[in-house]
Symmetry: D2
Subunit: 108 residues, 4 copies
């Protein structure tokens, strides 16, 4: 397999190569949300509930960041190559704008 192929492989996959890892993390987050519901059910102290909510926020941030990194490495870089080949910058501009909008939604 040539170096060039290695780049293409890397570029063409996105998050799907880590699909199982993402699914495991989401499963864990789902369990954390259920854990919070249980704490509320049992009238646990509000500050302890809030600490758990912060833990979920952190876990979700990690998932977002992973997806964003995959998006940039996959879709943006793929589109950059496409724009390079076609001489039309539209493909890459669109993907960059999409990534930026997604980051903006996460920062809010």
């Amino acid at each position: 397999m040539s170096e060039q192929t290695v780049i293409d492989e890397r570029i063409d996959h996105g998050y799907t190569s880590d699909k199982d890892a993402y699914l495991r993390r989401l499963k864990r987050i789902e369990g954390q949300v259920r854990g919070i519901a249980r704490m509320v059910e049992e009238d646990k102290y509000c500050i302890d509930v809030l600490t758990q909510v912060s833990a979920i926020n952190k876990a979700l941030h990690a998932v977002s960041l992973g997806l964003l990194e995959d998006h940039i490495a996959h879709c943006v870089v793929g589109a950059a190559n496409e724009s390079r080949e076609t001489g039309n910058p539209q493909a890459v501009q669109e993907k960059v704008a999409e990534a930026s909008a997604a980051i903006g939604r996460l920062l809010r």
Copy 2:
């Protein structure tokens, strides 16, 4: 029921008066997390997955904010009354510090 009792009632409950509402919201968030897992499973476009993650962040923020407001209205105000009665400011200082630490964890 006297006005005074109304204040006490309000003060002594915390989030437990809205328990069912919190449980419904957490149930919905749990479903949203499962929905994201399904999107990953089906190789949905990463930006669309990220949009859903942002929606969960927002829903969790709303839950946090509700719990914080309940904590301040309940525990901080309750401790203020306690400190007022005992003449010892420690009770209220502790609750204020706890609230502040919880807000700090959410801001991070």
Copy 3:
């Protein structure tokens, strides 16, 4: 000075007792913003500029958190005492709602 007075003193001040500390921190943040402008002026690497922006975010968060803690210890607790005396919960409810709205704006 009686214990009771100590509580009242604590309650009646808010951030004004730490005014100089806040002013020093804001001065430093102002300098950090000017530092970023200088980096942009000198075409510094964007990632290094972003690292500095993150540092300002952090410094501003610390200021917000301090102000919030002062607000809760000062205005909310003061209003709790007022409501306790007048038997009218409106004063404390208003301050709690204000604090919660301010936290919500910071979380967004």
Copy 4:
């Protein structure tokens, strides 16, 4: 000017093409920070100070987002082209990792 040159131009600049706009925005943020110091100086109500801090947070987020978008459109896409030409994915991988780390610092 050929289409290809247009892409290169876009790629080679980063935030420097909008330098004046960034400097104006940073000037305004600097003024906002000074405005907050003045509010503290004059013992303005803490909630009003906090509202202004939230406004600065928002303005800084907008600057961060602009810089990030420029970084992706400039450095990441430039490195993608370099990796494409040299057949060595390291250049693009480094820039993607840098962008991701910067986003992570902003999300925290």
